[in-house]
């Protein structure tokens, strides 16, 4: 893959490995889902979430459309 504006080396290996990393991520996310299921069943209290989740709320933008 050509990167015309490349000014640092991304490392070919680090690009290739992303396919495997995605598989590992799938496993990690699957276990997390199960763990969360357990937590909600046993009602484990979550600490105050100060950093939010990965999904950024786009509502502010949608309301203007």
């Amino acid at each position: 893959m050509k990167f015309p504006f490349l000014y640092f080396d991304p490392g070919t290996g680090a690009l290739v490995v992303q396919v495997l990393a995605a598989a590992g991520a799938g496993i990690a996310l699957f276990y997390k889902k199960i763990a969360n299921g357990f937590k909600s069943v046993f009602g484990k209290k979550e600490e105050q979430d100060l950093m939010g989740d990965i999904n950024v709320d786009d509502k502010a933008d949608d309301s203007k459309q």
Binding site: K2, T12, G13, Q18, A22, A25, I27, D58, D61
Partner: protein, 459 residues
């Protein structure tokens, strides 16, 4: 504009550079990035990034065929990764992942993910490199993936296993910690985490394997967008769940002070009164612990930098900032006896902490319950600490605990047979040396303590 005003940190990306004109920070965009900049502007994506707080907002100042100049919102004080506490570092990493996911969802991608592209502004991390965005081409892997791992995941994971010191690694490895080194350092058990196994061990292995073969530079790799999103989600979950269990000196520090609540309150009121007296708007609290005293001033000032040597105290301070949504307090880890130096190319790519503090022109520096540590733990003579403070701010509020103070007595006793070498440590000598550099504005003994508070003005 000539390139003479180019900021000393800004030279890596050919897309443009940061320039300072009459004290105003501008970003010059080179023609090579014009089409991308225009796409990001006209598609409304920049606006979305501003509205969501992901990217520092900017406005366009001028545009011609050779350069476009934009002016980003001014960030008066720039902190570096090796000055962040664990929670701050985590938050910065999560911010980068959030941003990359948001980019992918809108047809863009981050072309680099260095930790130096994040700083803390108005009580939260913000991404500052406006030219780090590229159009996402379906199936392309994340080219900044390795950089993210070296700049964020590696220090955080090492800190999880070996403590806060590991967060300072970027001071040594300005381009991130080599993953092969991280893989060697981590304990064997780390392999059983699917996130660490793939992102650290496998990536280190593949990186070594492919870097030796020059023919690989043109190799085409594809990964579906869904796969890349999974990597981001899993890294986010993992990093968010990271904890650090390292006990430090700081724990209930204020519950074991050697003076009573009334004296504590008296000190608070005095500090408030004096900062108001000199009409201070920007204050730096050196050795500010968890920000207890800085918080007293918060409603009346615009900017507070609170540094402390104890990473747990700084971490607690940052959590308070998040909980209370305090936009004018910035906690930072710093040892006054060894503050962050200038590093990188020509030692000016990342500036020394003392220089950044001086450049930001704080009105007052506070040094409460600090001088005995500098003088007795660090053996720094009064004349040298006075000069150091005088370089930073025009006013200084400093507390002097005399020899009879129990902390001072403890420190002196720990000198054992060299105790006699510290006979100079007394109020008279302190005043004598400090008043060569400062003028006395106020002096007040704190009732029922062996401590005296001074308001000094630089000569």
């Amino acid at each position: 504009m000539t390139q003479n005003n180019r900021h000393t940190s800004s030279f890596r990306d050919p897309s443009g550079y940061i320039s300072i004109r009459d004290g105003v920070v501008e970003r010059v965009i080179n023609p090579i990035y014009f089409s991308k900049y225009k796409s990001l502007s006209t598609s409304g994506f920049y606006k979305k990034l501003f509205d969501t707080g992901l990217l520092i907002p900017h406005k366009e100042v001028s545009a011609n065929d050779s350069q476009i100049i934009i002016e980003p919102e001014n960030i008066s004080f720039f902190s570096y990764p090796y000055e962040w506490s664990f929670s701050q570092y985590k938050h910065a990493a999560l911010h980068t992942l959030k941003l990359q996911k948001y980019c992918l969802q809108h047809g863009y991608t981050l072309k680099d993910a260095t930790a130096f592209n994040i700083t803390f502004f108005k009580g939260a991390p913000v991404f500052v490199d406006t030219l780090s965005f590229d159009a996402y081409i379906e199936g392309e892997p994340w080219r900044a993936y390795k950089q993210f791992l070296m700049h964020f995941l590696a220090p955080l994971v090492l800190a999880k296993y070996y403590g806060n010191d590991m967060l300072k690694q970027l001071q040594l490895h300005i381009d991130g910690i080599p993953l092969q080194k991280v893989a060697k350092l981590l304990p064997f058990s780390a392999r059983f985490s699917p996130v660490l196994y793939t992102n650290i061990y496998l990536t280190a292995k593949y990186d070594t394997k492919y870097s030796s073969d020059e023919g690989n530079a043109d190799r085409t790799v594809t990964i579906p967008k869904a796969g890349q999103l999974k990597i981001l989600d899993a890294l986010y979950d993992y990093i968010k769940g990271l904890t650090l269990n390292e006990k430090t000196e700081w724990k209930d520090y204020y519950t074991i002070t050697n003076y009573d609540a009334a004296a504590f309150d008296y000190k608070k009121q005095l500090v408030k009164k004096w900062t108001a007296q000199v009409d201070a708007k920007k204050v730096v609290d050196l050795g500010g612990n968890d920000g207890t005293f800085a918080r007293e001033l918060a409603p009346a000032v615009t900017e507070l930098l609170v540094t402390d040597i104890d990473p747990n105290a700084v971490d607690y301070n940052y959590q308070q900032v998040l909980k209370n949504k305090e936009i004018n307090i910035l906690p930072l880890v710093s040892d006054l006896l060894n503050p962050a130096p200038g590093i990188g190319f020509n030692n000016t790519e990342r500036l020394p902490l003392q220089e950044r503090i001086a450049n930001n022109q704080y009105d007052v520096a506070m040094a409460l319950a600090l001088i005995h540590h500098i003088s007795l733990t660090g053996n720094v003579p009064f004349s040298m600490s006075a000069q150091m403070f005088a370089r930073l701010t025009p006013y200084l509020i400093i507390e002097f605990p005399d020899r009879e103070d129990s902390w001072v007595t403890f420190l002196l006793k720990s000198k054992r047979e060299f105790m006699g070498h510290f006979d100079y440590y007394n109020l008279a000598n302190f005043e004598n040396d400090y008043l060569k550099v400062f003028n006395m504005v106020q002096k007040q003994k704190i009732p029922n303590t062996e401590r005296t508070l001074y308001l000094l003005k630089r000569k």
